[in-house]
Amino acid sequence: MLSSTLLVISYLSVAVFIIGIAWRAVKIIRLPIHLRWELYPVAHEKGRAHYGGSYLEESDWWTKPRQTSTAGELKVMIPEILLLAGVWEHNRKHWFRSFPFHFGLYLLAGLIVLLLAGGIATAAGASVAADGGTAGQILHHLTYVVGYAGLGLGLLGALTLLARRLFNADYREYTKKADYFNLAFFLVTFIVAITVHAFADPHFANLREYFTRLVTFDFSQVDAGLSSPTGLSAAEIVLMSLLVAYIPLTHMSHFFTKWFMYHDVRWSDEPNLVGGKIERQVTEALHYPVSWSAPHIRGDGKKTWADVATAGVEENEKS
C-alpha cells in the first residue's frame, strides 16, 4: 500500500478520534443541570472520604467553608484508572481478564507517544537506535519494551474476555454481536501487530519511520531513506488506525465519559447557594415546558416545571 494512502488513513482516523470525543463531550456538557444524585464515598470530601462522610455531617454546614481535597480525588482516581481498583475489589475474576486488556491499551497509548517522540527526534536529525545517543538509546529500547508489553497484555486480555463472553452463559446472554466484533477487532489487530514485530520489525524501527512521515506530513513516494510499509506492516497501521477511530464511536468511549459519570454525578455534591451559578441554572430549567400527560401533570407543552411543581391541590387530585 502506498505510504500516502496509509498516511491519509491515519490522519483521518486521528481526526475521527478527536471529533468523536469532542462531539460526545460537547453533547454531555451541553445537557442541562440535573438534580443532585451523588453517591458516597465522595472522594473529595476532606477528612471524611475514607468512611464515606459528607459535609452534611456538620451542624449548620451552610455557615462553614466547604473543605474539599483534590489529592483525595487523585487518591481514588489514579488506582481506579491505572489498576481498575473497583473491579479488583468487587469482581476479582473479571479483573484478571479486564486488567491486562486495559493496561495493555494504556501501554499502547504510551507506545504511540514514544513513537511520536521518536518520529519527531528522527525528523530533527537525532538518532533513535541502539547505537544512538543516550536519549536515543532510551527511546529505542523503551519503545519495543512498551510495545511488546502492551501488545502482549492486550492480546491476553482480549482473548480471555472473548472466551468469557463465549463460554460463560451469564456473560453470553448479555453480549451483543457488536461486542464480539469489538473484541475480535482488537484480537486481530494485536495478532497482526505482534506477527509484524516478531518477524519483520523487532525494534519497531519501521513503525517509527512511519511516524516520522506522520509528524512531518511526508507524502512523497520517493523518500529520503525511509521505507514504505508493505504487507502485514501496512495492515498493522491500517488496523491500528481504524481501531483508534472506532473506539470513541462505541460504548468503549467510557474511557473518557467515566470522568463525567464520576465528576458530574457520583461526586457532584456542590450545594446550591442563593444567588449562585447552580441557582441560575435551576431557575432556567424550571422554565422548560412540560408535556408529560398523566392526569396529575397534564403537561400541554406550555406549562413549565415551575407551574407543575407549584400546582394546587386540585391538579394533584386529578390522578
Binding site: Y55, H94, K176, M261, S291, G299, E317
Partner: protein, 535 residues
C-alpha cells in the same frame, strides 16, 4: 437446574417469566438455615391473576389491570413509547437526563453490579433480579425506539428486543423489584446506575401512563398534598395526637413536654415522618424530651405537609416530589425559622436535603439539617447528660441507605451510639457499604396481594442475615437486644421482618430509633424509657 432467562424472553408471553422457590433462596444463618424453618410464600390468588398483570414472577406490586383487548394493549404500548421519547428530552426530564444518558450508553455488561445486589443474592441469583436485567431491557428499548430508531446495524450493535404489552407489564413490575438502594451503582467500575434506571422507568410509568403503586401515589403523595399527611391526619388530628404523646411522655419521663406549634421565628422547624406519630409515638415524644431538656427554640408546623416529612415522589415521580419539597420549604419560609431539622426518616433526609437542593431557589432555599447532627451536638456539648450504663444491652445499628450511601451522614449517629451504648456492635458490612432493610423505595408500606412475602423472603433476607450475625452469640431469648434503625420506613420494614420471622418471641430482638436509645439513658429522665414489647 435453574431456568435460564434471556433478555428477549421478557417479550414472550407466558404465564410467568420467573419462578420463586424457597429451596432456591439464599440460605440463612441458624435457626433459619432450613427452608422449612421460614414461612411459606403465599401463592397469588386466581382472582388476582385474572384481574392484574402478574406474568413476571410470583407476586404483584403494582396491580396493573389486564388490558381488555388488543386495542387497549396497542394504546398502552403507544403511550409507553410516547413516554420513552419524553424521558430523553431535556424539557421533560432535565432533572435526571445527564445521569440517565450516561447509564444508558456505557454499560460494559461486566456483571459487577450483580454481586452487590441483596435482592439478586437473596433470590438465589434469579436472573430477572440481576440489577442489569431490567436496565438491559430498557437500554435496548431506548436504543431501538429513541436513539437509533431501528437501522440496519441496530440489533447487531444493541441486541434484540421486542416491544409489546407483555414487555411493558413485566418491566413495570420489575421496576418495583429494586429497592433503589444504589449499592450496585457504588460498585460499577464505570459509574452506571441501575437504581437510577429503575427510578426512571417508574417515572415514565407514572408521569405518562399513570401507572403507580397505590400506596405511594394515591394513598401517599396525593393524600399528603390534600390533607397534610399520607397517614390521613389533618392538622387538628395531628395536634390532638401530639398532645396525647406529650402527656404520655411527660408522665413517663418526668420532663414536661409541650410541643410548640407554628411558632414564628423559632430556630428550628422539626419535621417528622408522620408515620412516627401514628405507629411509634415514643419517637416524636423522645425528640420533645431531648429538645426541651436542651432548651432549644423549636417548633412543629400544622400546615399541609408541614408535619409530615415524607416525600414518596422521590421514588417514582418528579412532579409529586417537587410539589412536596416546595410545600416543606414554603412552610419553613412562612414561619421564618433558621433551619429545618429532619426527624428520623431516611428518604425525607435525602429528598429535602440533597435532591431538592436543585429545586429550591431564592427564599425557598431554607437550610436543612439531619437530626443526627443536631443530636450529636446536643450530646457532646453536654446539653444532654447521659448515663450509658442504662443502655447495658446488645445494640446494633441499621444504616438507612438514604442517610449513608446517598447522603454521607455516617458518623454522627455512630459517635452517639458508641458513647451511649456500651454493648454496641456493628453489622457487617455497614456505613456506606450497608445493605438495604428491604423496605427501600416504598416497599415498607407496600403489602398488596402477597407482596409482603416477597419483601420478607427476598427484600429483607440479607438484612435478616446481618441482624442474626450481629447478635449471633446472644440469640438466647433471655437477652434483650436492640436493633437501632433511625428511619421510619426502615423501622416499618424491620418491624414487619421481626414479626414475619418471630424474632421478638424467639430471640428477644426488638427494634426502635436512635432518640429512644438516647432518652433511655438521659440522667434527667426517669429510667426505662424503652418499651421492651413488640410494637
Amino acid at each position: 437446574m435453574k431456568k435460564r432467562i434471556r433478555i428477549e424472553d421478557i417479550s414472550r408471553p407466558s404465564p410467568k417469566l420467573a419462578e420463586l422457590r424457597k429451596e432456591d433462596l439464599k440460605t440463612l444463618p441458624p435457626p433459619f438455615d432450613k427452608p422449612e424453618t421460614t414461612p411459606d410464600f403465599a401463592p397469588l390468588s386466581d382472582k388476582a391473576r385474572e384481574q392484574y398483570e402478574s406474568s413476571l414472577d410470583d407476586t404483584i406490586a403494582l396491580s396493573i389491570p389486564m388490558p381488555k383487548d388488543r386495542q387497549e394493549e396497542d394504546e398502552l404500548v403507544a403511550k409507553f413509547l410516547s413516554g420513552l421519547e419524553k424521558l430523553f428530552t431535556k424539557e421533560n426530564n432535565w432533572t435526571f437526563l445527564q445521569p440517565l444518558l450516561l447509564s444508558m450508553d456505557h454499560c460494559a455488561t461486566c456483571h459487577t453490579c450483580s454481586d452487590a445486589c441483596h435482592i439478586y443474592e437473596a433470590s438465589g441469583e434469579n436472573p430477572i433480579y440481576r440489577p442489569n436485567y431490567r436496565s438491559e431491557v430498557f437500554r435496548r428499548l431506548y436504543k431501538k425506539y429513541v436513539k437509533s430508531k431501528g437501522g440496519l446495524l441496530q440489533a447487531w450493535r444493541d441486541g434484540e428486543i421486542e416491544l409489546n404489552w407483555t414487555t411493558i407489564a413485566r418491566l413495570a413490575e420489575l421496576s418495583y423489584r429494586c429497592n433503589l438502594c444504589r449499592r450496585c451503582a457504588q460498585t460499577c467500575p464505570i459509574g452506571v446506575d441501575n437504581g437510577l434506571i429503575a427510578h426512571e422507568i417508574r417515572k415514565l410509568l407514572s408521569q405518562e401512563m399513570n401507572i403507580t403503586a397505590r400506596e405511594l401515589h394515591k394513598d401517599g403523595s396525593v393524600l399528603q398534598l390534600k390533607v397534610g399527611s399520607s397517614t390521613g391526619m389533618n392538622d387538628a388530628v395531628v395536634k390532638d395526637n401530639m398532645e396525647f404523646i406529650d402527656e404520655d411522655v411527660t408522665e413517663k419521663t418526668g420532663i414536661t413536654v409541650k410541643t410548640p406549634w407554628d411558632k414564628a421565628g423559632a430556630d428550628i422547624l422539626l419535621i417528622h415522618n408522620a408515620g412516627e406519630i401514628m405507629a411509634w409515638p415514643m419517637n416524636p415524644g423522645a425528640f420533645g424530651v431531648i429538645f426541651e431538656v436542651a432548651g432549644l427554640n423549636w417548633t412543629m408546623s400544622s400546615e399541609i405537609a408541614g408535619y409530615d416529612s415524607i416525600n414518596y415522589g422521590v421514588w417514582y415521580d418528579d412532579a409529586q416530589f417537587a410539589r412536596v419539597a416546595i410545600k416543606h420549604a414554603e412552610v419553613a419560609k412562612k414561619l421564618g425559622v433558621k433551619k429545618i431539622v429532619l426527624g428520623e426518616c431516611g428518604h425525607a433526609h435525602k429528598a429535602l436535603t440533597v435532591i431538592a437542593d436543585r429545586v429550591l431557589t431564592g427564599e425557598l432555599n431554607i437550610p436543612r439539617e439531619s437530626c443526627m447532627v443536631t443530636l450529636e451536638d446536643l450530646i457532646f456539648s453536654g446539653r444532654i447528660k447521659v448515663d450509658p450504663s442504662r443502655n447495658d444491652f446488645p445494640v446494633t445499628l441499621h444504616d438507612p441507605c438514604n442517610l449513608v450511601r446517598l447522603m454521607g451522614v455516617v458518623e454522627p449517629q455512630r459517635r452517639i451510639i458508641r458513647h451511649i451504648a456500651p454493648r454496641f456492635r456493628e453489622m457487617e458490612p455497614h456505613g456506606v457499604h450497608n445493605y438495604c432493610c428491604g423496605g427501600g423505595s416504598g416497599f415498607a408500606i407496600m403489602s398488596g396481594h402477597n407482596f409482603n412475602d416477597w419483601r420478607h423472603q427476598i427484600g429483607s433476607r440479607k438484612k435478616l442475615e446481618q441482624v442474626l450475625n450481629a447478635f449471633k452469640d446472644e440469640l438466647d431469648p433471655s437477652i434483650k437486644k436492640y436493633l437501632c434503625a433511625p428511619c421510619s420506613n426502615c423501622k416499618g420494614q424491620l418491624r414487619d421482618m421481626i414479626t414475619y420471622y418471630d424474632l421478638w418471641e424467639k430471640h428477644s430482638i426488638m427494634y426502635d430509633g436512635l432518640v429512644e436509645l438516647i432518652v433511655n439513658c438521659m440522667t434527667d429522665v426517669e429510667p426505662d424509657f424503652i418499651e421492651w414489647e413488640m410494637h
